[in-house]
């Protein structure tokens, strides 16, 4: 019985391994170092967004403005990343700041107005898209400096820089969630907000913190994306929030709040990445790709609710 429980607990990990096994049997290129380098690099942007939104979802909230924040921060960074103007630190700083500010704005409105996060972030999603278009005048911003383009395209000891960022952010987020007081408060609020408030937790401050983290990481994702495709695009990131939320949910984060882990989200991110990559390798039509992806998301949630019932 204990074995079965454990299997359920790591259900998504088992699914992940099985899918990898199947893909490596059908496609000889799948299980190579170069292919995995590509999978993880491609997944890094979604990973940053998914880590951020995992905090938010555990508190029982949601952040739909992720994709728009990616666009705003990407465009902001690109505007300052023209060669021979500013040192590369400035566009990075400005991009992160833009993301942070939007996150703080989300948190501020959500805590002060008591409007559902779904509605508030739906609003900031639209505002953000507009801001990105205003800043860029509706056109992509190109001709960025080499040092800026290194962030998304460069290697350190043969490891692509986005993978290094992914690993660092994963470690930091895991520590915040598992080892800090903030992490414990995040779980507490998601489990029972009233009780947390009664026990003296400053609920508003914790919520501010999670939306700010989400914004900051969206800023980092925006910088990474812009530098990877060497252009800042106002349309970038459309729909990214859904991939990020899907990754968190596949990884076992419950949308009703209170449960979820960074490791789970990481597996969710990699699962999405592996499926995208595998279906491309097998040259499966994109129509079917969408059906497969949707099925897996629903499957993961069913598995999750099944787990909760049994616990």
């Amino acid at each position: 019985m204990q074995y079965i429980n454990r299997l359920r607990q790591y259900g998504i990990f088992v699914v992940f391994i099985i899918i990898c096994l199947i893909l490596s049997l059908i496609s000889p290129q799948f299980l190579t170092v170069s292919n995995w380098t590509i999978i993880i690099t491609q997944a890094s942007i979604n990973a940053l967004l998914a880590f951020g939104v995992t905090f938010v979802i555990i508190t029982g909230g949601i952040d739909l403005s992720l994709g728009s924040m990616v666009a705003v921060t990407g465009v902001t960074a690109a505007m300052l990343a023209h060669p021979d103007t500013f040192p590369v630190a400035l566009p990075i700083f400005a991009g992160l700041l833009a993301g942070l500010l939007m996150g703080v704005f989300n948190g501020f409105i959500i805590t002060k107005s008591k409007i559902a996060p779904f509605i508030v972030t739906l609003g900031t999603m639209t505002i953000g898209r507009g801001l990105a278009l205003i800043l860029s005048k509706g056109r992509p911003i190109s001709n960025l400096s080499d040092s800026f383009n290194f962030i998304g395209g460069g290697n350190i000891f043969g490891i692509p820089f986005p993978i290094i960022v992914l690993i660092l952010v994963f470690i930091i987020c895991s520590i915040i969630l598992k080892k800090t007081l903030l992490g414990r408060y995040i779980y507490a609020i998601g489990g029972n907000e009233q009780a947390s408030r009664a026990s003296g937790i400053n609920v508003n401050r914790v919520k501010m913190a999670v939306y700010s983290i989400s914004g900051l990481l969206a800023g980092l994702a925006g910088i990474l994306l812009t530098s990877r495709i060497t252009t800042g695009q106002p349309n970038a990131g459309a729909g990214f929030e859904l991939d990020a939320i899907a990754a968190a949910v596949i990884g076992g984060t419950s949308t009703s709040g209170g449960t979820g882990t960074m490791t789970g989200t990481l597996i969710g991110v990699l699962l999405i990445g592996v499926i995208n990559n595998g279906l491309d390798l097998l040259n499966v039509t994109s129509y079917y790709q969408q059906v497969v992806m949707g099925t897996i998301i629903i499957g993961a949630v069913v598995l999750d609710s099944w787990n909760q019932k049994n616990n």
Partner: protein
């Protein structure tokens, strides 16, 4: 001091009265009013057409009311309805969709307001059409690949959003050429959703599965072509693979100049935008006009790039 003030006041008065007589003169001519609804002002090429329209309108003294349909045919129909209610002289529509935007044409014609389609077509025939035939762009791009490869090789194609007019027509044009060259093989095709990052990912994955077998990439727009190009450059394969795309956006022209992108196909935003306004003025003033103004596409390569760079 008082003198200076009175001179100042007097000059201001003179200046404003001058302006008034000027604007009076203009309103006597009665400005032509044109309602414009554009597919999406988030698309660089469409923004370019709109900018060219504004320039031409200013030059000819035409008043433009430009609105953004945000890719939604229903919204576009409502916008045309509101133009009809405002009694504009001419409507210019950059259709969202072949079928779904057609009711807008029917409504305008029923209200006896001339309507011009710019850039792409609707199934209902408007008063006039100014634009290009996207099938031709696909043909030009694929013909270039066929010539470069000597009619033999493996090709991958990156589609735009599946089902959109531009995607269907560009694919059709490319396939027409492929039929002529039986030794050109389309080994894979997939959508990149007009997006650079998506196409870069897609190309990376293709490089994994097909690697050195790929001889050429045809991307249905420049954004996707540039994404594929980046993936090829990163893996050091670019020298062996031909990359061709369509639209001739600024980034693509720079890439052609550098010799990284082999070719792009130039769609003339300037002639489309300015042409639409010219036809609108002709219709409004009762002059004769062409029912169909077809603006040809042009292949842009390193040899003729100078003509396209500003």
């Amino acid at each position: 001091m008082k003198y200076i003030y009175s001179i100042l006041i007097l000059s201001v008065f003179l200046f404003t009265s001058c302006n008034q007589t000027k604007s009076n003169e203009k309103s006597e001519e009665k400005k032509i009013k044109v309602g414009v609804t554009m597919l999406s002002m988030q698309n660089e090429f469409i923004v370019n057409i709109s900018d060219e329209m504004n320039k031409k309108a200013e030059e000819l003294g035409v008043e433009l009311i430009t609105v953004d349909a945000e890719h939604q045919p229903l919204k576009q129909i409502e916008q045309v309805e509101s133009f009809i209610a405002q009694k504009v002289d001419v409507i210019i529509m950059n259709p969202c969709e072949v079928e779904a935007s057609s009711p807008a044409v029917t409504k305008a014609l029923a209200a006896k307001i001339p309507i011009i389609n710019v850039n792409s077509a609707t199934s209902t025939k408007p008063t006039a059409f100014v634009g290009s035939n996207d099938v031709e762009s696909g043909r030009i791009a694929m013909k270039f690949i066929a010539d470069k490869l000597g009619g033999k090789g493996n090709i991958v194609m990156i589609h735009g959003f599946m089902g959109q007019a531009a995607q269907i027509q560009r694919e059709q044009g490319a396939k027409e050429i492929l039929k002529e060259f039986p030794n050109l093989k389309l080994i894979a095709h997939q959508t990149g959703e007009w997006d650079r990052a998506k196409s870069m990912d897609l190309m990376q994955n293709w490089i994994q599965s097909y690697g050195k077998d790929i001889n050429a990439v045809f991307a249905q727009n420049d954004e996707m072509g540039l994404g594929a190009l980046k993936a090829l450059q990163d893996t050091g394969l670019k020298d062996k693979v031909i990359v061709v795309s369509i639209d001739a956006i600024a980034d693509a022209l720079q890439a052609v100049k550098k010799g990284t992108l082999d070719a792009t196909v130039f769609q003339n935003a300037k002639q489309q935008g300015a042409g639409a306004i010219e036809v609108a003025v002709k219709i409004a003033t009762g002059q004769s006009y062409e029912k169909e103004v077809m603006i040809p596409f042009m292949l842009v390569t390193k040899e003729n790039i100078g003509r396209f760079l500003k």
